[in-house]
Each structure stands twice: as structure tokens, then as C-alpha cells.
Symmetry: D2
């Protein structure tokens, strides 16, 4: 499932393990705020199970859970009562450990899916329908049969305080457990249903774009620090710098999770297209006057909710932000990113290994001169692990053209996905190209952090969002997998 | 479709024609605010059709609309572009007259429904699936096939300013047109799909309960005046009285329609169970001290959005409000309504006509003494049209026991609905009984307005919400159609 | 004191009796909200007097009040305790009738003024001071001696909920009582001190300018209806029209009275300088597109708080609003008023009576032709009372040049005030000329309301605020009493 | 002037140099936000001086400043124009260095004070007045004469964005410069006038009490970190701990400085009276359930604005917070502080030196046993500098009763102030006793920080606020200097 996320945004695509406090964080708060809030949903009849079941959900307790679920689904006592039972189940879930949660998901996955008989009956009716009216009726019948009991159960949570966040984190738990325990078609089906439910709830039309400033609640800013997945926020001072008068930060929010950013982007307002990330993040630099800027650089986009993996917000976010910035700063002429190239090193390694890629003779010769090593590709790969060669210009300047060309090759490489469509092999490139951007410029010594050096030998790339080309680029890429890029890039290739 | 509304709330159930400014109101604003807002969604390519098509949508313009819909569905240019096209279509729709709108719905109803071939293929695959993984996959395939193109089109509107309100009003238009032009299975299917879409969006879990006071924006209060459907708000002073310190008004709102109440309830905090509506609405009465009240009387519940007919909020609203009031006024002991009996007169007339109901001898004799008329039922029915007999105690006191008994008979009468379930014949009774209330008391000379006299000879009823009985009452009514009522009512019957 | 208000703004200057619900309104609310709020200020020792004194404050109860005041001023028990006593006194005051209030003011006026001995001692010390340090100290001593005990008492109210509004209304009561009971130097001194206190608190620097729209709370809009003093707001629909998209309404608010406008102005955005008030107020006119307007017409300015008479906000309000409008609508080129001429008829009457003004021969002849009456001025004056001559063009067109010339004469007439400064005789003219405006145009048949015809035979005037001239105009008027006006006006004169 | 602050609150009273970024901080922001905001106040005539004068304000530029001040005071062009000039002067001031500011203050202090002739004339008139009316008039005349031109100038700033904060910081600058350049009666008089102006503006009745939580803007929380003057906030995590669910933080704000706390207090909700500050500040402690707390401990009160030295908020703050807490947690029974004893060590040293204090024989003997040193007081004083003896119970337990008794002696010691009133020698004690608290308990090993050990050998004190005693305590202390304390304290003494 992680691949859903990988395909859509750079956040989870950078190859490192991002901080993962989401679900756990929720559980911690769960023990305090949510449990308190949900305790308020008292049923007028029946005993609660929360507090009375063991953390690993042994068979006896699983039976209690099943009974509670059945009562909820029977909706005896009306909808308010059903929600009270859901709150009880939610509090019970929060108290479970990993084994308990696995057993809970297993219960949902096997015993509360859509009814097979009803589905086959509906399918038969649908095939048998002759006139329009009957055909419409059978569709309605089929739509109904397709809603599994577990979905009716989970939907109850949207009416509880923090209930939507609970479901988002529940899906994150499910994906994490799937990752550890191996794939199972039943779990996959459950995950798919959760994904479709959350996709409909988190339709981008329902989201609110908010600018985040240093005036925002500390409790919200704290989450940016945790959720930032591209360039780690090292301190509150680092964060304050990213919210300075020559910066902008925007996030999408959902009305049911008003204090939880879904995705956020950090923008620097600069003169000319930025080519170095450490300069942008340097807190000691004074703020520039944003009124004099001609370029907006999107230097970080992070998905904040693991449980929303596969739900795509990034495209809309960038375009809404471009539109906001254009209104505030009519002088802005260029909208571009300064992006990592997370897959470069891994791809090169595999490509060299499998012989898909070879160095040109002149390149090999240059490296040979630097190093007596018999295999220049091994030398090249080793550079990604070292920290000093980039500052040694006698080496760096010779390596530069070689790596730049290899990187262009990588950037323009496409693969074919499960649906048979061509797409860029680099996940970040795929994200921006899908949005209609083009590859504008490679930047040497652009990210000197350890991560930057390891992933891409310090290289970064600018993707350019030119409003007049976005629709065409998008169509060409989506259709034929065409990767648009600037002339200079083409020349390098 | 109107019956959906009738079944669920008293608002549309009172037999009069409520004010219907919703859709029209929207169109009026449409010509100003919405058109302006949506003009902002500029496409980078392609010409807009809004402004270039005739109001009755002749064939030539219908072709333009079709072309625009196709472009939108093809999603060329990405999702932002798709929304821009939707905005254009929306502006075009707003400009249509009734004929134009009929033709627009006809286009959607016939040419953009779910694909029959895809559905039958999915049905076949579903039936053929053997293992769990395949079965899950075929469900996913079927879910996809069930989403008609028109739904993908209409969903685009949720991202536009006022777009959700647009869809709600669009459905109101569709139902109105259906009412006038007669039922058509294709139109019904379209309506059903819109209903299901709006049901999922307006799930009660996403709604916000807000108290409405005299501090609320005038633009919102103005809507209460328009939307009130039970006891007409005659002036701003009348409204102010209903928001006084011994009153409460609560409404549900949806995040995408923050200034549009969906349903609202008016509550009076009084001592003892209120038995007269004019007293409650008398502006000259000083406000009582709410701290001394022991009873909360729900004296008006109105659905505000015709386009959400069939989406049920009332049950949740009443229970949330009971919970709010209990927190604010722990002294409250009784929660009850003072409700109209909208169907009494019409039902009596039919029942007498068809011989389903006859007067007892003593009753007939009593009436005979008052009136030499040979048919006492005709005399009774005539009273509903007259205004003076209620103030003439020599008549009223003799008629009173007769009408009270007839009314009890009516209140306890059940019918069987399309699904074979027994339900109360009175729509308001059905609403409150479904929520778990019981019939507590009939009130004589309770509504002396013309409407009150015509519908129910001035009778009103209190439905009692006793928290400890709600679940049981709900189950007994939903299950066996059992109508719970107070002992005094039973004695009358 | 009323003259302070009269001199400064057109609101009280129009010669009619404006609605006066302020003080009374406060007392009404006082019996509910304020009394409740202030009851919360419980003293830990000592019994409250509120509730225990008679409404006309007989001697025995006056002694109780005096004792309570003394305790408050002694500030035993600390400042919080002092405020609790003030709250008690405030509640007692609210319960007084007019006689009681007169006796309360009398008590403050005579027994709680600044101490004469301390003042003369401070005066002696001040005169005796030789070195700078001593001189500074004696100033401090004098400043202290000048603060009468009653001011220390009244200042306690600023910390109570609605306490500042209480003081404002208290001063309104004081002025009203002075008006009825005749002037008294002691009452005048008390009023002067209250004026100075309120002036410092309501310094324009502390005020907040807010735009008022139809989205404002009904409880606020209701106050506009009550406070409007120039052109009566006849209904909520009339009000809504004045807040339409081609209108603007701005008010000043004080942080301690967040729901009470101090002064408000109504503006119409139009093409060309408006010449007719009924057209502006016509609810049936559709809203114009404000983006196409080139002129902002200030057609009503009303002071809302009688108790702030003499505290001047109007100048700042107009200039702040001009600045807001300029920012929102850069296309606006002209800022002008459409103002009443409230004193025209009364001035003409007196001037004719006293022989200060005579008609020219040709004018008298014209009138003679219309009317055999021997005295043309009596004929002229009678027209102000009649309603039909303005619609009879055979008369109106002959009278027009005569009244226009007389009006110009009036507009340019100056008087000398108590300070020996020249000022325009018309109060509204004085207000706008003081602000730096110039008289731009007289408008015939501009206000056809009964009030407009009676005061000024339907004439109205445009005052023009030209930003580049405001400072110069202001200085010339303030200095030499020069009345600037447009060339056309000069020609008429 | 600093002594005003020292006398009134513990913040500046703790003997250390608190962080002083206020004025400087303002200047830094001044260079950005304020300069930008004030640039908007364009005069229609006359050139601005800001940007055209040297930082040390040489004579030539001083003349420009004088000219600008004169223009402002002449108020030519109306009040809006006067404010524009003030904005220009403010921007000029912000650009000055310390010398320039000294020269600016010198100009105000000598050339813009109240007019001596007018004052002596007013004094003569006041003395000559015979009847009441004249006497009232002469008071008005005197009040007018007492307003120096510089005050009229400075008042202009209240209408500018951040203008009130500017004046507060201006006074802080003035006091700082006075501190460095020595006292001057003219500067003192200027400071006094500023103090009186700010006192009237910052009257506690105009202040707003706000609770500060982790949901507050980061920009506000950042200020708490800077302004905390009692127990340094070491990090954002430390701050978050102080805002946890078992803590409360309240601050006073002024409407004209909505983002600047004036004074704030930190409260812990605990069981029993806290006796150790490090335990309270330990971030690793889990939050207690505030519902189970019986005691509110005020463990830090800090004044935030140096420029408001002498303006007293603390008394009101504590009482308002007690009232808020009582409402939120009716179970709270005890309200007390855990306070430093900042002057203990310094006082002991002086008292021993001057022979005002001697050890009892038994005390001296005990110390002698611990240490052969010939002077036990020197040994005692040395302990304040050492860090290890407190953890060595063989020493600590013997020293404990000696230091506790000395501390009680100190706590009960009074001095006589300039006005001849008796007050506690300890500044923090004076603050709380003035508010009506009593000394409740001394705590051993209560503050083990370096500052705590140095100032008071780790001792801290609880002051108890018992609502029923506050008024009496306050009166007894204010009147006769009586220091109320618990029986256990009396026994120690």
C-alpha cells in the first residue's frame, strides 16, 4: 500500500524512514482526550466493553467485540445509540496492542465483508433487467449490496469528536500491520474499502486551504515539525525562519480535522530560481523583501497523514497556492520547485549492476585518472557515501559533468506501471510531471546534507510550473508518458 | 420524491404550500455572487459556453453543453481544469429557464448514466469469481462501474464556492420539474443518485450544531424567516421573541454551506408542558427566567433545504439539542413537543366518506341537538372552516369530547408502507414516534390560527421524549409499529 | 450641553427630536443583564444597598448612598473591593427614578467635588516654586488635587461589564436632567468633568473602525435603526438596502463597548454626484456595480451616544472611510456628501422678521405675480409647510432661483461663537467646513420628505472632500472663518 | 523609577538582571513592521524628516525635529494631519541611537513642558475665585494649563498602529537612559507625566484577562519565554509543560496592544500546597488530573513591559485568576503562591555586618561544631555560594533550623518607606501582603537552582490567599504595617 503514497508525492518517496508518530501520537492522546470525549457517549442500555477486554484481544474478548459490533449494526435503539456503541468500540480499540489490533482487523476482514449471496443475487438481477426502470432499480440494489457491514460500522465514527482522525489512523495501523505480517487479500480488500471511504470524505472540494504563519497555534506548528518529511525542521527557530516574511506555508485541512494538516507546502519568495537548499534554510540570513521577489520556490511538500496514503492532494495544493501567491504578489513571474532526486543513487546502482547502464569511455577514463580502481562505477557509487569529495574542487569539477549526465538519463527514464502507462522512474519527478510541470534545471552542490549526498550526490532539480503549459504538459505526460524538459536538459541528454 | 420529505419531517408535512424561494433565491444570487465567483475559474484553453447559450437550451446549444460535459469528463488538462469547466457549466445552468433545465436534466438522465456493458461485464465477473482475492477485485470493479459519468461531473462542484448549495438546489429543481412533468424512470434514477451523493456528503456526522441567537448575522436570521414551515414568522420582532432569553434555537450546518441552515428547531423553556401555541408566540409576553424552567418545549422543526428531501436530520437534531439543554439547564425534567396534527381533517373526511369511520350514536345525537342537519359528519367537517364556534363555549364544550376521541383514533391509526412496515398515518406522529417519543397529551384550543383550525380544529399534541424510554419506544415502533402513548390517551381511545 | 453636540455633527442638528431610547434602553437592559452581571461583584464584608433604597432616594436612603460612596473612596479592602461597591452603587442608581437621579447628581455635584483647601494650597505651592524640581513636584501635587473624589468613584465603573456604557448613559441622564431642571454651575462642573473623562477614554486613537454589513449581528443592526438621526430607517428592508453591495456603512467602536456604535456613516457608491436622497433610499432600485462607481456619497452621519455629546469623532470617521474606500475602489475620484440644510427655514424666518434680510425687487415681484399676498416673505415661509407646490412646475420653477439664492446667502453666513471665532451659521455646514470640505453644489427637489420640505424647502447640499485641499480649507476656515465653495456657488451669491 | 517596579512585583525584584529585549525588540520590529505601517500616514503637505536625520541627532537635525513637533502641536491641517506628523517623528525616533534618543528626550524635557506663566496665572485665578461657578471654571483652566505640549504630542501616537507599544517602549528607553546618565529633575518630570498618561490608559478596568494555552499563537508564546522573570523558561518543551492540562497561565492584555502580555501568572493545580519548584517544572512528570486538585499554586508572576514600571496589575490579576479558577474547578480550596525570597541573603549579610543581627549562642555553637571557623556568620554566608551542603544531610539538617529562624526574622522585618509607611523589607513579601495574603509556610530545599541557592539558600515561601481574610489583611498591612502569618511561622519567630 505504501506504493500508493510513493507514486503520488515526494514526501514518502525520499527513501528514508520518515518520523512515524502519527498513529502512536493518536493513541497517546487517545488515552486522554479521546477517551474522555467518547466516554460521554453513554448508551442507555447495555454495558460498555472498553476497559473490560485484554490488550491482545483473546478469543473470549473477541466474542465481546463481535457482539458489540452486531448490536451496533442492528441499530437497535436508533442512530444515536449506534454511535454510542461505536464510541465504546473505539475506546476498546485504542486499548489494544499490536496483536489485539491484528485480531480486530482480522475479524473485520473476514466476518464483516459484503454478503456474497446478496451480491450474486444483485448481479443476476442486474443482468436480467430489461427495461430502464428495472435496470436503474437493480443498480440501486447492487450499490446497496456492495456496502459491507464493516463500512456501516466505521462510518459511525465520523460523528464522534476526533472520529475522522481515528479512522485515518486506523487505516495507518492497518497498513503498518499488513507491512509486518505480509499481504492478505482480505486485508487488502478492507484497506481498499477504507481508502475509498476516506477518498470520498477527503475529496479535495471539501478541503480548506489555510496559510500557516508564526501566528498559528503552537500546537499546530508542532505538528509541522513532526510531519515535515523532505528537509527536517531542526528547531522552533528553524521553523520560524520558514514562516518569515519572505516565506509562505500553506496547508490543506478537512473540516472534521481542523487542527490536523493533511499536506503542506513551504515556499520561498526569491529573486531568480533558487539552486541551493541550505541557503534557503539558513536561519542567519535576513528576510528579503517579498515585494521585490520574482520567483516562488516550492522547496518542500509533505503529506502529513499516513492513513491517507493514495489520496491525492498535491496537485491541487500547488495550483491553489500559485493562485494565492499570484494574487498577493502580482510581480511573481516564475513558479518552480527545488526538489530532491530521491531515487538517483539506488537506480544507478541497480542499473550498473544489471548492465542496463554503462559509462562512456571518456567518463570511465576521467574516473580512472582520479582513482586507480579497476571499476569506475564502484568508485562513483562510493562517492555517495563520502562527505569530503564535493568540497575538493579538483575532484568535484571532474565528476560533475559525469554525474550530471547520469542524472539527466535517470530523470528521463520511464517505466511502465501496472495499468500499462509509461511514467518517470523517479517518484518526485512523476508527481510534478503529472501535475503539468517540466524539468527545468539540475543543480550541482544543491543539497549538502547527509541525506542529500547519499540519495543524489547533492544534486537537486527545479521543476517549472508554467501556467500556459500545464494543461498540455499534463496531457502529454498522462497520455504518452512524454517528459517535458528545458532545452538545457535535452542538450545534456 | 416529495413523499420522502413528508415521511421524515413535519416541515413539509403540514399540508400547506410552504414558501419556495430556495432554488429561485439561489438563482437570483447566482446572477450576482456565484456568477462572479465562478467566473474566476478560468480555463487556460477552450471557450466558455456560459453567456453563449439560449435560456431554453435549443438543440444547437444542447450540443455545446454535451461537448463541454465530455471535455470535463475526459479530464484533459488535469483536475483543476475539470473544475473550471464545471464552473462554466454551472453558470450556464443558472442562466436556463424551466424548459432549458428540463432539457439539461434529460441530457444527464439519458446520456450520462452508468454504462450498461460495463455493468453487465462486472456482474458476470462477480458471479464468476471463485477465490476471495478475485471476489474482492470484482467488487471494486463493480463499484467503479456503478459510478455514472454524470456523478463524476456533478462531484466537481463541491470544490466551487457555493458549489454544494448549487447541487442541493439543482436537486430541488429536478424534483420540482419531475412534479410538473410527470414521473420518468430515468429522471427518478438521476434523482436517486443525487440523493445518495447528498446523503453521503450530508451524513449527520459531518454536521455542526449551532445555537442561533439575536446576535447571529441578519443574513442568517433572514433565512429562518423564509424557511420556517410550521408557524410562520411574521416579522423581525416575532423572530426576536423566538430568540429571547427563555427560548433556544438550534440548527445543523454543513461545512460547505456555512451560512445555510439545514434544519432548525425552536424551543421554549417553560414551567409545565405548554398547551397553547399562540401564547408561546405572543411577543408582548415578558421573557421568563430560564433558570426556573422545568420543561423544554420543541414547538417548531423546519427543514430548510428542499434539495435534501429524504436526508434525515431531525432525530439527531432533537437528541443533540436535548443534550445541550441538559448541560445548560440541569433543572430541566421534561422534553416534549407542541406539535400540529396536519392530517386530521383530511383523514376524517376521507374516512367518513369511505365509511371507514362512523360516529357513535351518542356523538351523532349530540351533534344533532346542535344542528338539525341530517348528516352530523358534514356538520363536523364544516366546523374546520369556521372561526367562531371555538369561542362559543355552548357549542365548543359539547364538540370537544367528540373531536378529542376522533383525534385519538386518528393518532393511533397505522398504515402499511411500500416496504410492508406499519407506521402512523399522521406524518408528524410518524416522525416523533420513529425518534422514540410517545404521544403524551392532546390539547384543546391549542392553535387558533386559521391553519390550525382548518387542519385540526385547533387541536395540537405533545410528544414526550423520555430519555429512558427512547430506545425501547424506537424499537417497538420500528419493529411492530407499536404506537406508545400516555395512559390518558389510551383511556380516550 | 446639547449645543456641544449640535455644533459638531449633523445628527443632532436637524432640528427634530431624534429617537431617545439610549438611556432608557440601558435602564431596561439594566434591570436584566447588568444587574445580573453586577450582582456577581460580591463584597466579602458589608451589606449591599441596591434593592434596599426607594426610587426617589429620600434622605434616609441618600445617607446610605453617601456612606457607600465614602467606603468606596476610602478603598478599604483593596481595589477589587472598591469595584464591588461601585457595582452596588450602579445597581442602586439603575433603580432610581428621575427625582432619585436628580438627588444622586446633586449629591455628587456638591459633596464630592475637588477639595478647595487642597487646591488653594497647591496653587500657593505652585506659585512659590523656584527651582525646576520643585516646580515639577508642585504640578504633580496640583494634578492630584484637581481629581475630585467623584471622578475616582466614577472611574471604578470602567472595570465592570457594560460599565463604560453605564457612565456614558449616566452623563446623558445628567444632561437631560439639567435640560429640564435648569442650569446650575455645580451640575455644569460635574458634567464638564464627565466630559473630560469620557473624552480621554474615547480618544479617537482607541477607537476601532468597522464596516457594518448585512452579515452583522441583528442586535447591532437593530441599533442602527434606533440611532439613525438624519434619514429615518423605516424597516429592516430599508436597512438591508443601505447595506447592499453598492453601499458601505462604517462605524467607530470602543473596546469597552464592543456592541455599541459611537458614530456611523452611510455611503453610496454612484456615478456622478448624487442630487436626490429619495432615489438613494429607494429599495426597489437594483444595486449598481460598485466597480463602475466614480463617486462616494456620504448621505448620513449619526452620533449614536447622547452621553458623548461634545466628543468629536466625525472628522476622523470621514477621513478613515475615505481612506478605506480608496483602497477598496481605486477608481473613486470624488468624495462628497449629500447633506440636509437643517437651519435654513428657521434662519430665514428670523432674518426676515428682524429685517436682516430683504427680498430683491425682482424676487418680490415674481412672488407677487404668483400670489396677491401683500407680504412675499410670508408667502415664501408658508411654502415650507405645504407639500404640493414643488410638484407644480409653474410655481416651482419661478420660486427655484429665489430660494436657491436665499439658501446660498444662508450657507455663506457666519456668526461669532463664544470664543470669538467666526463659524458658519448652519451646524452641518460648520461640521463639514471644519473638516476641510467645501460647499460644492445646491440641489433642488433633493429631499421631498416632510422633514426635508419643512427645514429647507427640499433643498440639499453637496460638500466636497478634495484630499489635496482639505488641510488648506481646514486652516482657512479655522483661522479666518473663510467658507470655501465652488465657483457656481459664488456665482449664485 | 526602577524602584517603582521593584516595589510592586516580584518580577524585577529577584535581584538578577532579567532579559531586556523589550525596547530593542521593538526597534528591530520597528525597522520592519512599524516603519512600513507608519509610512502609510502620508501628509498632504510638508516633507517627512524620517530618513533624513543622523542617528545621534546633531544640532541641525534637532532643529528639524523641533520644527516638526511645532507643526504637529499647531495642528494645522486638522487632527489627521497631526497624526501623520507624529508617525514621521516616531519613525525618526526609531532610527536614533542612544545619544540621539538622549538628545530627543532632553528636547522634550526642557522645551515642551507646561507653560510656567499659564500655570501661575491659573493658580492666581484659582485662589481668587469666590463663587462656585468661577471656582469650577478656574479648575478647568488649571487642568488645561497642566497639560504640557509634549503630552499632546505623545498622545497622537495612540492612533497609530503599534503606537501605544511605541510609547511604552519610549518610557522604557527614557528610564534606561536616566539610569545610565544620572537623575535629572526635568527628565523625572517627563517620566512622571508619561507614567501618569500610561496609568490612565492602562487602567485595569480596560484590560482583558486571557488564558494562554498551547493553542495560542507561537508569536505570543515566544514572548512568554522572553518575558518570564522568575523561573527561566528553558525551551519550548519547558513552556509546553507549563501549559499542560494541570496548569493554567493567564495574562492581562490591553486592546491597543493585543499581542503583548502586560503581566502573566503561571499556576499549578495540585494536591496539597506545593513545596518544591523543581518538581513543578519537571517536564518528565505526567500531567495530573486537574479535577482532583484541591490547591492552586501561583508559582510565577512576571511583569512583561518595562515601560509600565509602577503601573500595578498584579493584585487584580491574582484576584481575577482566583475567580476564574473557582468557577472552572469548584473543588479548589486553597490558593497560595510558591515564591522566591529574593532579598534574604543580601539582607542577612548587611545585618550581620552592621551588627543588627546576631546568632544565638546555641546557633553559633552548632555551626562551630560543623566548622572550626572563628566566625559562624561568615560560614553561613558562604553556604549560599556552595552547591553541595544541601545534599549532605549531616550538615543540612543542623543548618536547617538556624536558617529557617533567620528567614522568619527576615520575613517579618519591616522598613519605613519615603511616605512614612511601614512595609516588609522583602519586595515579594510586600507585594503579596499588600494584596491581602498572609505568610503561610517556609519550605526547605524548595528551589535548588543556582539562583535559588544564592538568594535564599534554597528556601521558598508560600503566601496564602484566603478569600475571607484578604480585605482585613490588606487593611491591617496598609494601615499599620502588620504582617499576618500562620501560627507555625509565629512559633518559629
Amino acid at each position: 500500500m505504501a506504493s500508493l503514497n510513493r507514486e503520488s508525492t515526494p514526501a514518502a518517496a525520499n527513501g528514508t524512514s520518515p518520523p512515524k508518530p502519527h498513529s502512536e501520537g493518536f493513541l497517546v492522546r487517545g488515552r486522554q482526550a479521546v477517551r474522555r470525549a467518547w466516554r460521554g457517549w453513554r448508551r442507555s442500555t447495555g454495558a460498555p466493553i472498553a476497559g473490560n477486554i485484554a490488550a491482545d484481544l483473546p478469543d473470549r474478548d473477541l466474542a465481546l467485540v463481535r457482539q458489540q459490533i452486531d448490536t451496533c449494526l442492528a441499530a437497535r435503539g436508533g442512530e444515536v445509540s449506534a454511535r454510542a456503541i461505536a464510541a465504546d468500540l473505539g475506546r476498546a480499540y485504542i486499548g489494544l496492542n499490536e496483536t489485539g489490533r491484528w485480531r480486530f482487523f482480522d475479524l473485520l476482514a473476514r466476518d464483516y465483508k459484503a454478503d456474497r449471496d446478496a451480491l450474486t443475487a444483485a448481479a443476476a438481477a442486474l443482468q436480467a433487467a430489461t427495461d430502464d426502470a428495472t435496470f436503474a432499480d437493480t443498480q440501486k440494489q447492487m450499490r446497496h449490496a456492495l456496502i459491507p457491514p464493516r463500512l456501516r460500522l466505521l462510518k459511525q465514527f465520523n460523528g464522534l469528536e476526533e472520529g475522522v482522525k481515528f479512522l485515518v489512523d486506523l487505516r495507518a495501523d492497518l497498513m503498518e500491520i499488513t507491512r509486518r505480517h505480509g499481504t492478505d487479500p482480505e486485508f487488502q480488500a478492507l484497506n481498499r474499502e477504507l481508502y475509498e471511504l476516506l477518498s470520498s470524505w477527503f475529496d479535495v472540494g471539501f478541503l480548506e486551504l489555510r496559510r500557516i504563519t508564526w501566528e498559528a497555534p503552537a500546537s499546530l506548528l508542532e505538528k509541522l515539525i513532526v510531519y515535515e518529511a523532505v528537509h527536517e525542521i531542526r528547531s522552533w527557530e528553524d521553523l520560524k525562519n520558514r514562516l518569515d516574511s519572505d516565506r509562505r506555508c500553506y496547508a490543506f485541512f478537512h473540516p472534521s480535522m481542523p487542527n490536523e494538516p493533511l499536506i503542506f507546502v513551504e515556499v520561498a519568495l526569491v529573486k531568480g530560481m533558487a539552486d541551493q537548499i541550505q541557503t534557503l534554510l539558513d536561519e542567519s540570513q535576513p528576510a528579503a523583501d517579498p515585494a521585490t521577489a520574482d520567483t516562488a520556490i516550492f522547496y518542500s511538500i509533505s503529506n502529513a497523514q499516513d492513513g491517507l496514503a493514495g489520496v491525492s492532494f498535491g496537485d491541487f495544493l500547488i495550483k491553489r497556492v500559485v493562485s494565492e501567491l499570484t494574487r498577493e504578489f502580482p510581480m511573481l513571474k516564475t513558479f518552480a520547485t527545488l526538489s530532491p532526486i530521491p531515487g538517483l543513487r539506488a537506480w544507478l546502482e541497480t542499473a550498473f549492476d544489471q548492465g542496463d547502464l554503462t559509462l562512456e569511455a571518456a567518463q570511465a577514463e576521467t574516473i580512472g585518472r582520479l582513482n586507480g580502481n579497476s571499476d569506475p562505477t564502484i568508485y562513483l557509487m562510493a562517492l555517495f557515501e563520502q562527505s569530503d569529495w564535493l568540497t575538493d574542487d579538483t575532484i568535484a569539477e571532474q565528476i560533475r559533468p559525469i554525474l550530471m549526465r547520469l542524472c539527466v538519463t535517470y530523470m528521463l527514464t520511464t517505466i511502465t506501471d501496472r495499468m500499462g502507462r509509461k511514467r518517470a522512474v523517479d517518484s518526485v519527478a512523476h508527481f510534478h510531471l503529472s501535475n503539468g510541470a517540466q524539468i527545468e534545471r539540475l543543480n550541482w552542490k544543491a543539497d549538502l546534507s547527509q541525506k542529500g549526498r547519499r540519495q543524489s550526490a547533492g544534486l537537486m532539480v527545479n521543476y517549472l510550473y508554467r501556467l500556459s503549459d500545464i494543461e498540455r504538459n499534463h496531457e502529454e505526460y498522462k497520455g504518452a508518458g512524454k517528459i517535458n524538459c528545458a532545452g538545457a536538459i535535452k542538450n545534456l541528454a
